[in-house]
């Protein structure tokens, strides 16, 4: 049995976990980040066409010519912003440029509205979280995920998947990055869809632990853990891996970044997070 997994950043974790469930299978890990590169595309297509299953979150247009004998199973990526509803983006005028991918919507809104940096930490409280709709984030995330499963025709698998993935608490590092347990649960779901049942819980490497958002204390109580203000930041827009401990330092860090990037306060805008929160309207 040969299976190709194309799941963007979630690919390695899901592929490894699926292999642990089926050690005799050949499982290839082919994320489609470089889909516009012709040589990559040709190589990927060749592997996909020679597989029994192709597990992917989306089918690129040019794959319409694919060998129809293989089974294509579309599974949605695991996106669940409820633990980190503050994560949003900031764009330049007309949204033509995402200045930085991962931001605190609260800090960005404060910066745009000329709030002195030393006052920003005071915005991180239960009252504001309520105004921002963060306490509805679980319901919204749940509904979104459930709708995704319906869209992909996987309704009958949804509840088993969701109950399992949330059973051990936090399963995401960011809104779109699951931890190792999240990957394991996706792999178990894929395994079930291809007709295998297993009680084993795989333990893949924690591929996405390099970027971890803070679990805000006034929110984390609803996740059953003590919250903290600690960020591990690493993405292409940052010069190196940055570990920030403490809310004050975090606010200062992003204010400095915005100054460096010459973010124009009146001409940039905050990209709404996965839940559609309007940070400026709620807070200012």
């Amino acid at each position: 049995m040969k299976i190709v997994i194309s799941f963007n950043c979630q690919t390695p974790g899901v592929a490894e976990a699926l292999f642990q469930l089926n050690p005799s299978y050949k499982i290839l890990n082919i994320p489609l980040f470089n889909i516009n590169d012709p040589s990559f595309r040709a190589a990927a297509q060749k592997e996909i066409e020679s597989s029994d299953y192709w597990i992917t979150d989306s089918i690129p247009e040019f794959f319409s010519s694919i060998n129809k004998k293989i089974k294509v199973i579309e599974v949605p990526m695991l996106t669940y912003p409820a633990f980190y509803p503050d994560i949003s983006g900031i764009s330049g005028e007309n949204g033509e440029k995402t200045i930085r991918k991962y931001h605190s919507g609260i800090v960005a809104a404060a910066y745009k509205n000329n709030m002195p940096v030393e006052e920003v930490p005071s915005l991180f409280n239960k009252i504001n979280f309520n105004k921002l709709g963060f306490f509805n984030a679980h319901q919204d995330s749940f509904n979104n995920l459930k709708n995704q499963y319906s869209k992909y025709g996987l309704e009958k698998y949804f509840y088993d998947f969701f109950y399992e993935v949330k059973k051990n608490g936090i399963f995401m590092y960011t809104a779109t990055h699951p931890n190792a347990y999240g990957h394991a649960c996706i792999a178990k779901l894929v395994n079930k869809i291809i007709g295998n049942e297993s009680n084993v819980m795989p333990k893949p490497k924690d591929y996405l632990s390099y970027f971890q958002w803070s679990l805000y204390p006034d929110l984390s109580i609803y996740h059953g853990i003590e919250g903290y203000y600690r960020w591990l930041l690493k993405d292409s827009t940052l010069p190196n891996e940055i570990n920030i401990l403490g809310l004050e330092l975090f606010c200062q860090f992003y204010y400095q970044q915005y100054d460096q990037d010459e973010v124009m306060k009146n001409r940039s805008y905050i990209i709404k997070n996965e839940l559609g929160t309007n940070f400026e309207k709620a807070l200012f």
Partner: protein, 346 residues
Amino acid sequence: MHPYEKINAYQRWTRGVAEKYFTNFEWALKKTFEINKNQKIVSLGSCFAQHIAKNLQTQGFSYLITEEPPKDIQDKDYPFYSALYGNVYTLKQASQLIHRAKNNLFQVLNNDYWLNQQNNYIDPFRPNIFKNGFKSYEDLIVERKIHLDKTLKAFLEADILVLTLGLTEGWVEKNSGYILPVAPGVLSGEYDPQKYEFKNFLYAEGLEDFENFYVTLKSINKNVKIIITVSPVMLSATFEDQHVWISSCYSKSCLRSIAEEVSNKHKDIYYFPSYEIITNPASSSSYLSPDFRSVSHLGVQSVMNVFFEKFTEQKSLNAPLARETNNNFKAECDEDIIEGFIRKTE
């Protein structure tokens, strides 16, 4: 058409629990009222009651203290009560306490004191309050009379009583029928089967004890409202020859049933689900300490969040909650001493 078709989401397990995250539940309480900051609140019950008491005070509510600890035993770690009755675990203990306070019954035990190693006099009703004891029996009695007066004053002046039901197991002095908060010999005194016997109260007995307590309380203060809750702290040890978890389950089930019955029966009794918040299966024990018995700070925080949402106008916390640390508030559990005692003697 069937009767469950139109029930609310919170009435269904799938919608009310499985799809939810930890305590993000819609706790649809049958009855609530709004506590304002001028109303005097008195607490009584097991060690979990101390968490509620301390946090009400932290949040600026009028927690009534009629009897402060004597100066020589005041310290930061001193447990927190409206009057110095200590932890009141069983309904029998609560019922007898209010009866003694109302009628000023300061000498009811046949064995009215225990001598500690220093030959000081220990009050069997409060061995964990005056741990070092008194120089004489007369001193003990003087202090007990003051205590009963102050306890009566607390019941008399309370607008709200938060009553936390703890256990069904206890130790009774055979001749007098009075129940003790801690088994003889654990903190002081000596266990003599001729004098003391173990008692595990049944549902009907607990209900009767509650009704006695309630009638007496209302005879002292007819306007007081009661918020009744069941402590989520499990038994430290059971004297029943069975697993401690089975005994815990019995104790809590019995008390929970009594709380349900009396809150349905009396219009001024309101049930608050601290037991359910902490032990709900969706929390995966994250509101418990690693020993699965004590409640973690996070658990207390969850309970108090719901409490303030349901019973106050502020709806959320104004100040950080009291946290148990070595240098701060510590809920004192007499039962823990049993475990310490067992460890020492094993």
